[in-house]
Amino acid sequence: MKIRLAGAAVAAGCLLGFAGTASAHHGFNVEFDGTKCMDLKGTLTGVIWENPHAYLQMDVKDAAGSTVNWRLEMITPNALKRNGTTRQDFTANMGKEMNARACPAKVDGDSRGAAEYIKLSDGILRIVGQIPERGMTPEKLNF
């Protein structure tokens, strides 16, 4: 019975998704708005591999058809690297299509944010940030 209860609890956890700190250099909510996360689709234009956070840059067309260059914060290079995402992965997919699920910054939120998930043109789903959206599990992504 204990096993069943624990199993049910963890299964529920699977479905809800566990939000959590991912190598947190800072508190997410101070700088970003986890209630306004959005899908971004565009082209990978850059990667900045530095501590305490790595960043990616991507060109995205806005509603008016203008291209906006977004700068998305990720977690630390050491955590990215040990969890399957390297600087070389970005280099290999530079200039190609990519998707991101990202949450805008509270300041300059029209072009700056924090990435939760990304998919580069290699088709691999990458968890590159904290997931402040409760229940935003990989299977719920649109990419």
Binding site: H25, G27, L40, K41, G65
Partner: protein, 326 residues
């Protein structure tokens, strides 16, 4: 029993993941978000089902509770050899808090078996000593924070044990601690330093490291409640006692006691926290010098209300705790 159940549940969780992914894909659920990027293209394929499960980078589906491994390694003098690189979880590798890793693997202790009390602060000390780490700053860790803060940083602790001394190295905050184990006592009047003055001694198979003279600008982070926002400062009277043991090759156990009569009503002692030996031979040390940092400028531009909420969040208990412990 609970541990077994947790592992079973974890296996079920991972086994179900591809099924859940496929089910979700086939259901043709509407798009979420409505973000600015939607004009950049459409994803009709996402609703057509029958797609292979998405590969997620990081091999998180292979993560499991590490077995104890061979018996405790020992040095020539018979003491346990603590040397090795360890991660603050039960997996033997660096994990990422955002992935759905079951708690029996992710955490450092089971709160139902070894509950951990929070530090009890003197009422007159709260205002002066309970302050979060300044947002966006990269201060040195100090003792014991360079180790305890790994509860949310998830980074490695490397121990190098040689005759007469033990080196404790952490990647971030990038820290080098040299602890003499040659029987010497504390200096009569040690100079304050970020890591303090440490001396080590063996009590049976446990290495006890005793530290004083820790710079009072250093915060205790994840000593009790986890996370930067729950950080607290200490007085010149702080005394830190850390206990390290290695019950088997794959496991390092760490317990910390903080005494500070000016700040705490009573000494704080953590639960025994498990660290596991890095299993990947290619898992190399990574440089983590925290200098390329734009966040203090970002913080300056934030509104006053957000800043105040952050500053008081640790004191009023609203600060979130990071993942990795409970």
């Amino acid at each position: 029993m609970t541990r077994t159940a947790g592992v079973v549940a974890a296996v079920v969780c991972f086994a179900l993941a591809p099924v859940l992914l496929d089910a979700q894909r086939g259901s043709g659920q509407g798009r979420r978000g409505g973000g600015q990027g939607e004009q950049g293209g459409t994803t009709p394929a996402a609703t057509q089902g029958a797609k292979p499960p998405v590969k997620i980078a990081g091999d998180f589906d292979k993560v499991k509770v590490l077995d104890p491994g061979p018996p405790t390694p020992r040095t020539a003098d018979g003491h346990p050899d603590l040397s090795g690189r360890y991660y603050p979880n039960h997996a033997g590798r660096m994990l990422q808090g955002a992935y759905r890793i079951p708690e029996p693997i992710m955490r450092q202790y089971d709160p139902t078996k070894t509950p951990q009390e929070n530090p009890v602060f003197r009422p007159d000390a709260v205002e002066k000593y309970q302050h979060p780490t300044p947002y966006g700053s990269c201060p040195p860790g100090g003792t014991p924070t360079s180790i305890t803060t790994q509860a949310t940083e998830h980074g490695p602790l490397e121990i190098v044990q040689v005759p007469g001394r033990v080196w404790l190295l952490t990647e971030f905050p990038q820290t080098i601690r040299m602890v003499p184990t040659d029987g010497r006592k504390h200096s009569p009047d040690p100079d304050p330093s970020f890591n303090g003055e440490s001396v080590g001694r063996w009590e049976g198979d446990t290495l006890v490291i005793d530290t004083v003279a820790i710079d009072t600008r250093m915060r205790n982070i994840s000593v009790g409640r986890t996370g930067d926002a729950n950080a607290w400062l200490h007085s010149e009277k702080e005394h830190v006692i850390e206990r390290f043991s290695r019950p088997s090759k794959n496991y390092l156990m760490y317990t910390v006691t903080v005494e500070d009569p000016e700040v705490l009503v009573k000494p704080f002692t953590s639960a025994p926290h498990a660290w596991t030996l890095a299993q990947d031979p290619n898992d190399v040390w990574t440089e983590y010098v925290c200098t390329a940092n734009e966040e203090p400028d970002v913080y300056k531009n934030l509104d006053q209300k957000t800043k105040q909420e952050y500053e008081r969040s640790g004191r009023d208990g609203t600060a979130q705790t990071g993942r990795g412990r409970q």
